[in-house]
Structure formats: C-alpha cells, structure tokens
C-alpha cells in the first residue's frame, strides 16, 4: 500500500473496477430482461437464447481482455457482446431484425459481429466459434502482436469433436487463446451428466497439457482472476488455457421454453448464488460502496438500456435492396 491509501479519495478509486464489473453485469441483466419482455409480447422473431444468470462469465472474462483482443461467442451471446463493448441499441436492433443492427437485421441474435470491439461473432453452430477463436489467436501470434483471443461455449460443446481437434492444435502451436466453457448444466433440454462421460470436465484440457481450472461461474471476481491468469500466460507466449465455470441459466434454453426438465428447488438454489447481489454484498461489506450507491447504479444502467431499446424499437426494417448486399466482399 502506498501513502495515498490514507487519503479519502482512495476507496473510490479502489471501488471503481468493482463497480464497473457490477454495472456491466447489471446492464446485461437489464438487456436480457428487456429482450425477454419483447419476446413475450411477440416482437422478437425467431429463436432467442438469453443468458440471465450467466453474466459473471462474460463480464469476468472480458474484463481481463483489451479492446483489441478477440472473442468468439456462441448462440447465448448477448452478454459476451455487451461485455466486449457492443452498443446495446445496435445489438437489440439486430435481435429485432432492424436495419440499424450489426448485420442490417439479417443475422439476428445468433449472428452478431462487432469486429471494431474485437467480437468475431455469436454463432448458430454449437462449437462453431471455438476454431475461430483459435484462428484469431494464430493470427495474432503470426502477425507478431501480443493479442489474445477467447472462445466462449456451453457445456454442450464439450462433446463436439471439433473442440478436441482445436485444443490439440492450440497446445502444439502454443496459441494465445482462452477456451471458456460455461457449464450451465443443460444443453437444450438435456442434463449434461446424461450425455457426458468422465469425472472431470477440465480433464479435457489437461489431456493436452493445457492449464485448466474450474471456477465458480457465479463469482465474477473468481472468473476474472482465472481469466487474468490465463491472459497473462497467453501474452507471455505460454499458450492456451481452459476454464470451466459452473453457472446457471435462469430462463429456458430459449425464451418461451416451458422448462419442464428443470427442478424448481435447483433453480431457487442457484438464484441464491446470483452474481449481481453477490458482488454488491461484497462491496458493501468491504465498505467500497453503499447500498444506495449500488441502487443508483442499477437504476442508471436500467435507464440507459431502456433508452437503447427504445432506439432499437424505433429503427427501420431493412429494405428489399438490403437483401442482396454484401454477398461478396
């Protein structure tokens, strides 16, 4: 601790990064809640996969990355997009199929690309983003930058053969990549245990000599710490890391899923571990923020998301001439 520790300004400076994490998780939660409501009122076309409950994974990992670092996301990707810097109005516009969306409303929720913020896409193919993240890492490595890439995927993708191929190559080429598995217990309506062999998920990284760890995916600080360790290794040329975070999705596989396969008690138990109040309590206990301050932060974030949603709802749909644009570069 330096001398400044004694000055009154210090708690604020110390609190700022935590409040940023908290605000980011609140933002994602508020965004997903708005998306859920829009879906319920019939305004969202197609399939909508929400990530409420899993915010700590996206926020913890992305907070360890630089804006120039790359992520590849999956079908449950709104949180990843926002945590990596996406504009919520453009993201919601894409989800609603509007022309101001990231893909002119031609991609939808599962196909959002925001390369200006290092996001090379949500993905409609389970496991599809994993090689793309490794490819971005190869690109950073061969172009001689110290860039890092992270690939997010669900527990369901643990059983894609593609993952094993890519883990092997990431290890032999020492690619600066983080493989981030969000284990929310289910792949669609199927419990992960019923379709997955082996006692340990991280063993799937370890078999390739990739440093691998389990983290509490409901604890953003634990996720961030694991991601920071992995990023430091990657930047130092020490290669890939494999992180499995245990987490839970509060909603169904997609909005509108009746969730008969879930156990009520289980769902309630997970709500008690909710990453947002958990970090809030931590800040209050450590005297880094007051309950009132946190309350105000929540309101501020919600208002900003409401504004963004309003803008997205007012956006124009794509025109017929947008249909044929951008087939080829």
């Amino acid at each position: 601790m330096n001398a400044a520790a004694a000055t009154p300004a210090q708690p604020e400076a110390e609190a700022a990064p935590y409040l940023a994490l908290l605000g980011q998780m609140m933002r994602i939660r508020a965004f997903e809640e708005q998306a859920r409501r829009l879906f319920a009122s019939g305004q969202v076309p197609g399939l909508l996969h929400l990530c409420s409950g899993q915010e700590a994974m996206a926020v913890g990992v992305c907070s360890a990355l630089r804006p120039t670092d790359v992520i590849a996301s999956n079908h449950r990707g709104h949180g990843h997009c926002l945590a990596k810097g996406a504009d919520p109005a453009r993201l919601m516009a894409e989800i609603l199929g509007c022309a101001s969306g990231y893909g002119l409303g031609r991609g939808g929720s599962m196909h959002v690309f925001d390369p200006a913020n290092g996001n090379i896409g949500t993905n409609g193919i389970v496991g599809g983003g994993i090689p793309l993240a490794a490819g971005a890492a190869l690109s950073a490595q061969r172009r001689g930058t110290d860039g890092v890439a992270a690939g997010f995927f669900g527990d369901g993708a643990l059983n894609q053969g593609l993952l094993f191929e890519v883990l092997n190559m990431a290890a032999i080429w020492r690619l600066p990549v983080l493989f981030v598995c969000e284990n929310n217990g289910y792949g669609e309506f199927t419990a992960i245990e019923t379709v997955t062999a082996g006692k340990s998920m991280i063993a799937r990284g370890q078999v390739f000599d990739i440093p691998a760890e389990h983290v509490d995916g409901m604890d953003v600080l634990a996720v961030r710490a694991a991601a920071e360790r992995a990023v430091a290794r990657a930047r130092a040329g020490e290669g890939p890391s494999f992180i499995v975070g245990t987490t839970y999705r509060y909603g169904g596989h997609h909005a509108g899923d009746a969730q008969d396969y879930k156990d009520k008690v289980e769902a309630e138990a997970w709500q008690k571990k909710d990453p947002i109040p958990r970090l809030a309590r931590h800040l209050i206990e450590r005297g880094l923020a007051s309950a009132a301050h946190i309350d105000a932060l929540g309101k501020e974030v919600e208002a900003a998301i409401e504004e963004a949603v309003k803008a997205a709802k007012a956006a124009a749909p794509p025109t017929a001439s947008d249909l044929v644009r951008h087939l080829y570069a």
Binding site: F113, P131, R142
Partner: protein
C-alpha cells in the same frame, strides 16, 4: 503479358504461392504434410525452406478444426491458403466452409470477411478408389458466398491462384491431379487471371463445348478428332464456376447454335446441369438443338482401372457426342 516459359501445372501453382507469399507476409499455408515434406503431391515443395514453419504450417490430421482455425485467422488479418489433401475430404470442412466462411461477410453486413483459399486436388484415373477420386466442386458452387475455381492449364492455374489469394472472399480452388504434369507456356512474374472471365480455348463454328477443369484437355483432344470428320468445335472454359461468365458462354452459343456441356463431377445435379439450364434460359432463341450434358457417371468411382476408365467420357466418346449433336 510478360515473357512466358514452359512450366507444369504443378509448378505454376507453386510459383503463384511463392509469389503471393513474397508479396504479402500475411499469406500463410496450412495443410497436412505441406511443410518440409513439400506436400503429398509436391505442390508446396521448396516453400517451407523459403518461408519457414511460421508460414508453412503442417497441421495434424484434423481437417475440420484446422480449417476452422484458418477461417478464424482469415477473419482477423491473415490470408490462409489451406490444402485439403484429396477433394473427397472437403466433406470434413463443410461446416467451417459453409456456415462460417461463406456467410460471415453477409451476416456482418460487410464488417467482416474471410479471405482464404481452400485448395484441393481431385482426379479420376489413378485407382485411388471411391473415397479418393470424387470431385465435389458442385457442392461448393451451390453455396452462396463461395467462389469456385477450376484451372484447366498451367497459365490459368498460376493466374487464377494469384487472383484467388488476392480475393477477399473464400475461394475453393480445385486442382486436378491428372493435370499436374501438363506443361504449357506460363508468363513469368506475378499476374492475375480475373474471376468470371471464360476463355475460348479453341475457336469453332459448329458447336460450343463448355468444358470445366480437366475436361478441357479431353475436349481439346476430342475436338481434333471431330475436326477430322469436318466438325469444328469451339471449346469454352468458364475457368470459374462462381462467378460464371454467362455472357461469353451465350455469345459462343449464339455463334454455333449448339451446346455440349462437359463437367468432371457426377452428372446429376452437377455443375454441368447448372450451365445447361442457364444456356437453355439465356440462349434458347439461338439453339438449334437441345443442350447436351456429359459428366462423370452417377456412381462412386471404382478402384479397378477398367471400371474406373468407364466413369468419365474420354476423347473418343466426347468426339462422338460432338458429331452426333451437329449431325442430329
């Protein structure tokens, strides 16, 4: 055009790769055994020595994952040229090719692109059996967002490869093993054969033969036989299936009034079917006879050499088809 020297089709492709790699440090090669070993068919011989392991990357036998990594690298600044050892094996990279590379420019409204070349070798006639002899170029041509190139001679092989590496889209580049030793004049230094420009490889007045890839050589030989019977065939090579130079094809048919399409893939639902249908739509008023279509038999390509030789039309059979189409 710069001065030409004689080179093989294989050498011409290799020359294009070397020139592109010298010009742009972001061009890398990936594939199985392409490094020190120089490739199973020696197409990358010497490149490892010149450019090193960082740019000539030997992959494990993991086509799906390795090609997916190439796609991610292409999305983020590199220009990978990825070798799939046998054309039949593109089945293994289909998801990365079709769902990721082909669609990313459209889905991202132009914010992202996947500038890569998937090069692969096809070829019937070496007793390689059903899983090493099929050409699936029509599959690739069926996917909006991909470009598909089938060079038929050494000069085109070099110029089309240089154009493919320059292209900001995913390009599927189909080489035919039977052509690797084919020699021809190849201009020195870098040059591009633009996509979407068919080449009239032999002028003729009696019928238009639209031939792709290796079938161009066979069609040229057949045209000599037909000429001995007084039939002058015009041989048109589209060179790229996507984009397809419909205008040049139609112009040829306007001149000759007859069209025979010859493609090396299985005939049913193939590239030849697409070209024939296009001519029926675009050149109907000039056609004096229905468009005729030849291709590989709709069968797996068998191992036994005698049976294998029955899969593709040969110069003799093709000449007969030419004569029959003109004499009616």
């Amino acid at each position: 055009m710069p001065e030409a020297r004689t080179d093989s089709y294989r050498g011409a492709v290799r020359d294009a790769l070397a020139l592109a790699m010298r010009a742009d440090a972001n061009v890398i090669l990936m594939g199985e055994d392409i490094g020190e070993a120089g490739g199973v068919f020696k197409q990358t011989e010497g490149l490892f020595a010149e450019f090193g392991a960082a740019r000539v990357i030997d992959t494990p036998i993991s086509e799906s994952g390795a090609f997916g990594i190439a796609v991610g690298a292409a999305m983020t600044g590199l220009r990978p040229v990825f070798e799939v050892m046998f054309g039949d094996f593109i089945t293994l990279v289909m998801d990365q090719l079709v769902n990721q590379a082909a669609k990313v420019h459209y889905m991202s409204a132009g914010a992202m692109r996947a500038p890569l070349v998937l090069r692969t070798a096809v070829g019937i006639g070496a007793s390689l059996g059903p899983q090493h002899s099929q050409s699936l170029h029509a599959w690739a041509a069926h996917v909006p967002g991909l470009k598909v190139v089938l060079p038929a001679d050494p000069a085109d092989a070099k110029g089309l490869m240089m154009a493919a590496i320059d292209d900001d889209n995913p390009v599927v580049f189909i080489e035919d093993r039977n052509l690797y030793t084919l020699k021809g004049p190849v201009p020195e230094g870098p040059y591009r054969v633009p996509f979407g420009q068919a080449a009239v490889k032999r002028p003729g007045r009696d019928l238009s033969v639209i031939a792709t890839g290796r079938m161009v050589s066979i069609a040229l030989a057949a045209a000599e036989r037909a000429a001995a019977q007084g039939i002058e065939a015009e041989i048109v090579d589209p060179r790229t299936l996507v984009p397809l130079d419909v205008a040049t094809l139609v112009r040829s048919v306007q001149k000759t009034g007859r069209a025979l399409v010859v493609d090396g893939g299985a005939r049913a639902f193939g590239a030849g079917a697409e070209i024939a249908a296009t001519l029926a739509e675009e050149a109907f008023d000039w056609l004096d006879a229905p468009v005729r279509r030849l291709g590989a038999a709709d069968l797996p390509v068998p191992f036994n050499a005698n049976l294998e030789s029955l899969i593709l039309p040969d110069a003799r059979g093709l000449a007969q088809a030419m004569i029959a189409l003109v004499r009616g």
